[in-house]
Amino acid sequence: MSALIDLNVSVQADDFDVGLELQRLRAATPQAGALVNFVGLVRELSAAGQLSEMVIEHYPGMTEKALQQIALQAAQRWPLLGVRMIHRVGRLPAQAQIVLVAATSLHRQAAFEACAFMMDYLKTEAPFWKKEVGDFGQHWVEARVSDEQAKQQWKLPK
């Protein structure tokens, strides 16, 4: 049984204002006693060398549905009040914000765990692909086994 009253998912080229997004989430879920968020950034230094930009491709239509499903799964598992997910696509310079995942709940544990869960699922199920461009040329980022393992840990009995 989900307690979710606010769910908002966006896939966009534009940057986002974390403060403004969190303020909106708080306003939409005034009962909340906890607000947790994660922001993913473009690292300056990749394994291959100095990075000038990251190009993110996605599968329009499927991406939005996948993010929504991940948020709903989290809301089934923890008593979340609100969820906000934003993922950027296109060309992003080093240090740019890539992704925001935020959740509100009555108490902190639900929001903390749900944010980690949603990121682990987003990294392994949402159809985004990153290409790194830099002084080394350009290449597609390889999926990491550790990301898949991070997701699998949520399937173990507690």
Binding site: G40, E57, M62, K65, E125, P127, W129, K130, A143
Partner: protein, 85 residues
């Protein structure tokens, strides 16, 4: 049957197009059968689907495994393991 196939990321660059409408011979109705049928197009395709790299699939926007079946008019997509976040 007729389906639309979409390709993304590295796979799109390898096959050199992003989408195509195809008419399939009778009996090709699972992802694994479709991969093997596409592999018949030549070396590039065969390497793609039977080489070392993993190729994921979706049917109508849902991630599926190789035994999943599709129907006339469906949208099938092939892509590498995802790397967002």
């Amino acid at each position: 049957m007729n389906i639309t196939i979409l390709y993304f990321a590295r796979i799109k660059e390898v096959v050199n197009y992003s989408s195509e409408d195809v008419e399939l011979p009778d009996g090709i109705e699972t992802i694994v059968a479709l991969k093997s049928w596409l592999s018949g197009r030549g070396d590039t395709w065969q390497k793609l689907f039977s080489g070392g790299g993993v190729v994921r699939a979706a049917i109508n926007h849902e991630l599926v495994d190789d035994m999943a079946t599709f129907e006339d008019g469906d949208e099938v997509a092939f892509f590498p393991p995802v790397t967002g976040g």
